[in-house]
Symmetry: C2
Amino acid sequence: MTAGTKGVARADREAQIIEVACRAFGDNGYAATSVSDVADAAGISKPLIYNYFGSKDGLHAVCVEHAAAVLWSEFERSTASGTVGLARAVLTLDGMFRALAPQRWIWRLVFDPTAPAEGVSRDALAAYEGKLFTLGEDGVKELMRLAGNTDPDDVSAMHAVWESMFRSLVGWWLDHSEVSPEAMTQRCIRLFSTVFGDLDALAITPGGDPASDAPASAG
Amino acid sequence: MTAGTKGVARADREAQIIEVACRAFGDNGYAATSVSDVADAAGISKPLIYNYFGSKDGLHAVCVEHAAAVLWSEFERSTASGTVGLARAVLTLDGMFRALAPQRWIWRLVFDPTAPAEGVSRDALAAYEGKLFTLGEDGVKELMRLAGNTDPDDVSAMHAVWESMFRSLVGWWLDHSEVSPEAMTQRCIRLFSTVFGDLDALAITPGGDPASDAPASAG
DNA sequence: CTGATATGACTCGTGAGTAAGTTACCACGC
DNA sequence: GCGTGGTAACTTACTCACGAGTCATATCAG
């Protein structure tokens, strides 16, 4: 390919690179993705990426920022619904399935075990994780307070269990690409019913406006 | 260091290298551990490792085999106890905490997200995971059958949730090194009680001979 | 003296990051 | 309308570090 501009403005090119890089990092993980891979997939050369993003870590940070924003806005949406307990859990899962459906790689990009342990992208991720941690721990703490357990370590461990349960449900869904978000939400409701007994309170309105129907509460 | 034998028999040296390598792989992960690291930690040189284990992957395979055997024997022990449901879960967790206490790196060695995606060590790990998967899925299937749900995908998803819950509890404990196995088992019982209601049936005898006391069942 | 135990010093591939050069767009003077 | 210089966009071809794996060689036990 000859050198020289192709008439693509920097902002456009950056957006294109980010799009491609998010897919690459999400599908293959940070460690298994080389900058050359991203450059090839985007149809450009490696130095252009370094020119625009400074480093592999810098590129990753931008991707993480983008992906985390998607997830976070979804979490905030279900937080704002005012539901609590299992109803809120189902609502959050449902929203996550719908948000991820057109861009499933987002999830693995954020929860990538091969992501760098330090640097700007680690900082971006840590900031997001911190917000998410607080949100989740507050919810768990409140529910456990209602159940009569206020031990901080118990709350911490329960929070870890809750997060891992959430992640495993999303992970299972990502591994079963033929399952629609709607079907997966129904599956989650069935599973919760199996574990916690019948939940008539879970007649939620997944996907719709959170306030359009009287939301149920559980706890 | 001068060359020449130091009077250490091959079997002894191999055992020593495995010991050191298990720690290194477990603590830092496969990807972040170089063969030179292991050699340095063992006080020997890199070619000796290649002479005895063939490759980094070969060394890792032996470590995985060793670690998986520890975990597997513990799982078999609680399976043989004859308990089911939550009682079995608690029993298994308790056994795992006790087995892991003197060698915590074993866990992360087996569940290392940076482990190679192919090769002998991958094969060894896959064999272990296959056995574990069957064991777990059978248990989950049986419990769900009792609850009236036999949908294969529901069972599969529930199994994923169960495994992740188990892993997160062990993971939480590994992150809180000051907590004793006994205290952690009690914490698990408290958490299960919080979620599932009071479980008088969970007056198990953790750590003792599984058959010495009438074990309770739950489902 | 033979073979097992052991090592220093290499090769080689890979991937991050860079230097230096090439081409097209665009504002400006005329 | 039309050269023309400046700058933004873009590439080829490199350096460099690091880690897996190898080779030739050295030393000691029996």
